[in-house]
Symmetry: C2
Subunit: 274 residues, 2 copies
């Protein structure tokens, strides 16, 4: 008897079917559609899922880098998965997502068997008002993927009031984030959540400009058990940029549990045209 | 008439020779030897150089991720370079460094044609005393690679006084950094400089523990012209960690020019045993 496959929109977007020639076939999700292609978070999660589902996979993901080589077109795609190296407690993977016109995304992931060690968290959870006191972002009429998240901004909400060149808005956002509908946390959802921070250039300029992530790296600071124990608890997210220059900017983000554990950190470099 | 190849130890470590079957052959450098293999910065620079030297390469490096899959043994290695995708203004590469027993490192890089745009640097250069007032780190008797850098700590110098479990030292370092002997800055040296920050676990514990970087991502925030114009000017570096947990910690770093431009940022995830 087969288990009923999960029907959360994220799980539907993550469905990968092995092909006879050893690839994985998937299809883009309208529910996570962005402006010119799927929400990058789902692409990152798909790359991670390809390795997570491999029978020979060991341990939990520690690092994931996804390079966005070209827009993913609506429809089918294939993921090629390569086990680069397996050691006693670590494992390295490479992935490529392709469509008819070539590679649309490349990725590498590091998995590791985690065990309890001496621990220390120099970083502190940012202070944020209680979630119930904040209003969810109105995603009506926006790109579809935004409706798949409950985003409650305490700081740095998107505000469409254009700023003068010499008067950029602050680049930092602080918010409560959860899947919508709610979904139990796992590495798949965490990899997508790490990319839910609207690109900082929209924020500092107060308007949309052509922009797109070219590379995204996420580090996971938890094992599967501790992550699963959080259930579908909303997370606290913070994102900021250090420099916008010559058509690119960096964007870093942190995802915290309400009880003050740093679960994931990410960096991305983003193209922009101004 | 052939140009005389550069003879700085870093340039000697970077020598790659094309083989008849389309690979690049190199050899480890004793001058950049670390404890169990070459200094990871040189491995990162070698991966980048493989793409930089490709005749069909366009633009400047924007992002580089290197995964350290296994120690690189003393001697020869081969790099396989793959052009993953080339667009009008961006180009994606994948690299693997192999020895007899398999892949020792994998990497991806994104290159882009950079052009002047609206620019804004929310981050500020950290305040640091003048370089000439600080004493270079004594690298006598240490792993060889440390003697290839002039490191002048203003904060967070390595101090071998073991700390109690509940009394870790601060995880932040702030220092002046330069190649030794001096060498004109380029992306090759910048990729290595981004990895010169001693792993934070040594600092917070006040002693050496088994540790090694498993993945390193560096973003470049400058084009080749602006970088070259700095000559061999020493840089200001800052590094810190957000969380040590279950055998891994993150480490982030910034490299600044003295006049306050953020040139590169990096993150790495590091294995440790405690």
């Amino acid at each position: 008897m087969n288990a009923i496959p999960p029907t959360h929109p994220l799980d539907i977007a993550m469905r990968l079917t092995p092909t006879e020639d050893g690839r994985l076939r998937g299809a883009t999700s309208d529910e996570y559609w962005n402006m010119m292609g799927p929400f990058g978070g789902t692409t990152a999660s798909l790359m991670l899922k390809a390795a997570l589902d491999a029978p020979q996979r060991i341990g939990d993901p520690v690092a994931l880098t996804v390079n966005f080589c070209a827009p993913v077109a609506k429809g089918d795609f294939f993921i090629d998965l390569k086990e680069t190296r397996t050691n006693r407690s670590t494992q390295h993977w490479s992935m490529e997502l392709s469509q008819d016109d070539g590679v649309a995304a490349s990725a590498t992931a590091v998995f590791a068997k985690r065990r309890e060690t001496w621990a220390h968290q120099p970083a502190a959870r940012p202070a944020i008002p209680p979630r119930e006191t904040l209003v969810p972002m109105d995603t009506e009429g926006r790109n579809a993927w935004l409706s798949r998240y409950d985003l409650r901004f305490a700081e740095g909400a998107m505000n469409f009031v254009a700023r003068a060149d010499d008067d950029p808005a602050p680049s930092r956002s602080l918010l409560w984030i959860a899947d919508k509908p709610a979904r139990a946390l796992d590495f798949i959802s965490l990899a997508s959540l790490a990319d839910t921070f609207i690109v900082r250039i929209f924020l500092v300029r107060g308007r949309m400009v052509p922009a797109g992530t070219v590379s995204l790296t996420t580090y996971f600071h938890t094992d599967a058990a501790a992550l699963g124990a959080l259930g579908s608890e909303p997370l606290i997210g913070v994102a900021d940029t250090k420099v916008f220059r010559q058509g690119y900017f960096d964007q870093s983000a942190e995802l915290w549990s309400a009880d003050g554990r740093l679960l994931a950190t990410s960096v991305q470099t983003v193209y922009f045209k101004e």
